[in-house]
Assembly symmetry: C2
Homo-oligomer: 191 residues x 2
Amino acid sequence: MVKMSRWSPNARGRLEQAAYELFLDKGYEPTTVADIAKRAGLTERTFFRHYADKREVFFGGAAALQEELLRALDGAPPAFSAIEAVRIAVEAMSKLMHGRRALSRERQRIVAAHADLRERELIKRATLTAALAGALQRRGVREPAASLAADMGMAVFHVGFGRWLEDPAGRELVDVVHEGFDQLKAVASGI
Amino acid sequence: MVKMSRWSPNARGRLEQAAYELFLDKGYEPTTVADIAKRAGLTERTFFRHYADKREVFFGGAAALQEELLRALDGAPPAFSAIEAVRIAVEAMSKLMHGRRALSRERQRIVAAHADLRERELIKRATLTAALAGALQRRGVREPAASLAADMGMAVFHVGFGRWLEDPAGRELVDVVHEGFDQLKAVASGI
């Protein structure tokens, strides 16, 4: 069994894919970890090496998103304004969704149908926003600008994400988000 | 007992005040509905006429906030930009917090200490944001401007609320929020 998982490149991705397929086929509640592992051609033991439970499949990517967000923010030129740095960071994070539109659409459908998953999603967003605001403060951005810029960036990501899922032109999320920052500026200039 | 509640003007406010006092004195968990009613000089029956449970005391004002938010938005002049209308609405909602700074500070401390209350708070914010975006759409604001303006307005409220609680000058929330919209514009103009 250990060998089985050693022979499995991208076990995490395969488990995720299998989970979404099963959630769609038989529904979220009746699907068990055993079902998911079996569909992925892996063991339950391998599943639990990657995810704490079934619910975690939906949020297993959150750490990678946050890491990329903060990495890109730290790489933004010091002369950049707070919102320019946030744009760089949110666009870098958006690139992680490249090629994941169909999967994300199914994910969203399941999350929307379950109160506990919706709550967890809100917590994920709040956590990312707080991490971004903290990183901006460390760049020397004062309050309330740091918190506002972080909130605005996450709003652009969130609104862009919803539009991306339904985008008839099939653009990548990063392009929808890039445009979103221009729209944000246009909206704010109405004050 | 019915008479007792009839004789009680502002029963809701008294229950809220009593609840916060007890949460502070003995902690949130050990405080019972019976304790709260007793401290307020009211009956448990009266408590349950106003709140579904102990947790509800923290969120009983959400409906009034949303009502005021949407009422003010609908009253904003049609010529106003989306963000100007949002500013009117969020400032009107902020006025409901007038004179509630000490209570709000205690509330915030308790909510911050309990994961289930923090989650509920995030849900409240998401609900208000969605209601605001929907009302903007009904005003004729297109997407993504409606969602972005709603998210930005709620970000200004949220960030302003935190600053208001600690504001050394003791300004009212509406003044902190008013300034927040100018700061929002300044941040967004950095793009």
